[in-house]
């Protein structure tokens, strides 16, 4: 991942740095990439994680950074939301196990490592949570400092309220067995955020 950072020569800011630090505290990972490199960087992270199928949010950013091409070149099958899969396959009970959901957060909160996912026609609620892996493609200018700022923007009254907003702060985990945090409960086992500058 360090190689991607160097070759992309990304511009980092204190807000980006804080987000990356918070993500690692939340047991997620993150990297910074210039727009021209981001698709390649995301595909490489997925290939390293053993991903064989990606479910992509239908967002213009995904095409802009050339992600579908990069994935195909890495030998990863590409599905775009809505996938039209039957329920059992959508829930990972059938089909390949190493699926990665790719989301485009509306915002992110630097101080607590949170990405804000909004449900919409192109952005299903299940993309990240039903998959084993989760990659979020985050334009750097969408990072805010606090949760209060993120919620104020999301629910500012200037547009209809989204049907579902998910604040995701790291991989799924449970502490229900002996109070020790164990990753990969119901949702994604890994989370990687590509910050695009």
């Amino acid at each position: 991942m360090a190689a991607a950072q160097v070759s992309a020569a990304p511009v980092s800011t204190p807000l980006v740095e804080e987000l990356l630090a918070s993500l690692s505290r939340r047991k997620a990972s993150g990297q910074v990439a210039a727009a021209g490199q981001a698709g390649w960087a995301a595909a490489r992270w997925m290939a390293d994680a053993g991903v064989t199928r990606a479910v992509l949010a239908d967002d213009p950013l995904v095409q802009e950074i050339g992600l579908p091409d990069a994935l195909r070149r890495a030998g990863i099958e590409v599905l775009t939301w809505p996938t039209g899969q039957a329920k059992r396959e959508a829930l990972g009970l059938e089909g390949p196990p190493d699926v990665c959901g790719v989301t485009v957060p509306a915002l992110a909160v630097a101080e607590r490592g949170t990405v804000v996912l909004e449900a919409s026609a192109g952005h299903g609620r299940g993309i990240d949570v039903t998959s084993r892996h989760h990659v979020a493609l985050l334009p750097a200018d969408r990072i805010v400092q606090t949760l209060a700022q993120a919620l104020a923007r999301t629910f500012d009254g200037s547009r209809p309220v989204p049907s579902a907003v998910s604040l995701v702060s790291g991989p799924s985990r449970s502490s229900d067995i002996e109070k020790i945090s164990t990753l990969g409960a119901h949702g994604a086992l890994t989370e990687h955020v590509v910050v695009i500058t």
Partner: protein, 471 residues
């Protein structure tokens, strides 16, 4: 499965618990495994919470949290009307239920009308309080708790031990045994990761079958009609997105005015509850899926339960309604840490449970009238509460309100005692008699069996017959 967690309709406390509060306490105290598990849980919570106080100013956030919640309770009727209007605007249905039975009737009827067979649930104290699982099972539905801790308890046919961490009283090998029994195979791993992965697959099968998802609500935000569901596992996201129908059950007091208030409470909650600055998933749901969306429920129903809460407004117990169910007062309570939640015999245990269970049940309930006495009044709960509820004061008031044969007898005894000791002459006579009796009973300066008020003392230790005592 149809007989687990049996309770009579109406009350909040469990009706299937055995023995009196005192007997259950004694049983719990002698369970060494339980005490070890509770110790581990409370210690790890304490470390996290201390870090939040140090690094995130949790204590400084309390005053504002308290202000917000007190104001919410004062404005409750208006906030609830606004909430109701906004949810309807977003295409959802709102039902106001006067009590648990009414809420259960509505949800069961809905499930029947829609041909639902399997109901997937995420953790919710409100549904535990109204005994929704029993109602659904009585109607012939399969109910599956999908929160890992709750599922473990469902398999063990036990009641939760803690608001946030329901299965803290069970250890890893106890869990592995339950999973083996459920899966009908010995092929279940023993390590934590393996157990969690096993549960994930078993429960995904249930999500594939579920026609209805039932969740609780941590906060309702009136200004947009949004329900907030806070969780770590991701099961609440599945419950609220996979089944065709989502039913959210909310205690009527859980509403805040706007997103500014919600942001503050949503930050405080995980800090106090799990000692972390964020929960993993916070689901903010406003109505059902929109027409152009490919997943999410087609129907959204918000069931708002009164269940005795409304009647607490304007009383000396009003502040109990500020509670955000974080569980901090449980972990901080030396009583709860010694006996766990199950001895309380109510879904709400610990200091807040000892206050609200009898309030929601009514003063005459034999199942809960002794609960306010499950406290040493040390005040650790009030200090831990992130919304500043003076729990120790509420406990004292709840004791004053409790009326049982036991409390009446001890009241009489204490009045007689106080009359005896208030006058120097009766006091001196009493003390002279007591000294005589001590000398008659004592051996070598110590008495090991005393009658009357001394009996409790000499059950576990000797009493010196002279002062200073002989070594």
């Amino acid at each position: 499965m149809s007989t687990w967690r049996r309770r009579d309709a109406g009350g909040v406390a469990y009706s299937d618990v055995e023995g009196t509060l005192r007997e259950r306490t004694i049983v719990a105290l002698s369970d060494r495994t339980l005490r070890g598990n509770l110790d581990t849980a409370a210690t790890s919570w304490g470390e996290g919470r201390d870090a939040m106080r140090r690094d995130h100013g949790l204590d400084e956030m309390r005053e504002r949290a308290r202000e917000i919640r007190r104001q919410n309770i004062r404005d409750l009727p208006a906030l609830l009307s606004e909430m109701q209007a906004k949810v309807r605007e977003a295409g959802g249905t709102v039902v106001r239920a006067a009590d648990g039975a009414e809420a259960c009737r509505y949800i069961t009827g809905l499930a029947r009308a829609r041909g639902v067979r399997v109901v997937a649930k995420s953790k919710s104290m409100a549904t535990e309080e109204i005994k929704l699982n029993e109602a659904l099972e009585d109607a012939g539905l399969e109910v599956v708790e999908t929160d890992l801790g709750e599922w473990i308890l469902q398999l063990a046919e036990e009641h939760p031990s803690h608001i946030i961490a329901p299965a803290v009283h069970l250890n890893r090998s106890q869990v592995a045994d339950l999973f083996r029994e459920e899966a009908g195979t010995d092929d279940v791993p023993d390590d934590r990761e393996g157990l969690v992965a096993h549960a994930r697959v078993r429960l995904r099968e249930k999500f594939a079958q579920a026609g209805m998802g039932v969740s609780g609500v941590n906060l309702g935000v009136a200004s947009t009609g949004t329900v907030c569901i806070v969780e770590n596992e991701g099961n609440a996201r599945l419950v609220t997105s996979q089944p065709r129908i989502h039913v959210a059950v909310m205690g009527m007091e859980r509403v805040v005015a706007d997103w500014d208030q919600a942001a503050h409470i949503l930050q405080v909650l995980p800090m106090a509850a799990i000692g972390q600055d964020a929960a993993n998933y916070v689901n903010l749901i406003t109505g059902p899926r929109r027409e152009d969306e490919a997943d999410g429920p087609e129907e959204f129903h918000l069931v708002i339960v009164d269940g005795g809460r409304g009647a607490l407004r304007g009383t000396e117990f009003e502040e109990a309604l500020s509670c955000i169910r974080c569980g901090a007062c449980l972990y901080s309570c030396p009583m709860w840490r010694s006996v766990g939640g199950q001895a309380y015999g109510s879904p709400y245990s610990g200091p807040i449970g000892a206050v609200i269970t009898p309030l929601l049940e009514g003063p005459a309930s034999p199942a809960s009238r002794d609960l306010p006495f499950m406290s040493s009044l040390c005040g650790a709960c009030g200090e831990a509460c992130p919304v500043g509820i003076p729990l120790q004061d509420l406990l004292v008031r709840a004791r004053a309100r409790a009326s049982s044969p036991a409390t009446r007898t001890s009241g009489l005894a204490f009045r007689a005692w106080s009359r005896l000791w208030r006058h120097p002459s009766t006091y001196r006579t009493w003390m002279a008699g007591w000294r005589l009796m001590l000398r008659a009973r004592g051996k070598a300066g110590w008495a090991s069996h005393l009658p009357g008020p001394g009996a409790g003392w000499t059950q576990v230790r000797d009493m010196p017959t002279r002062w200073p005592p002989r070594r």
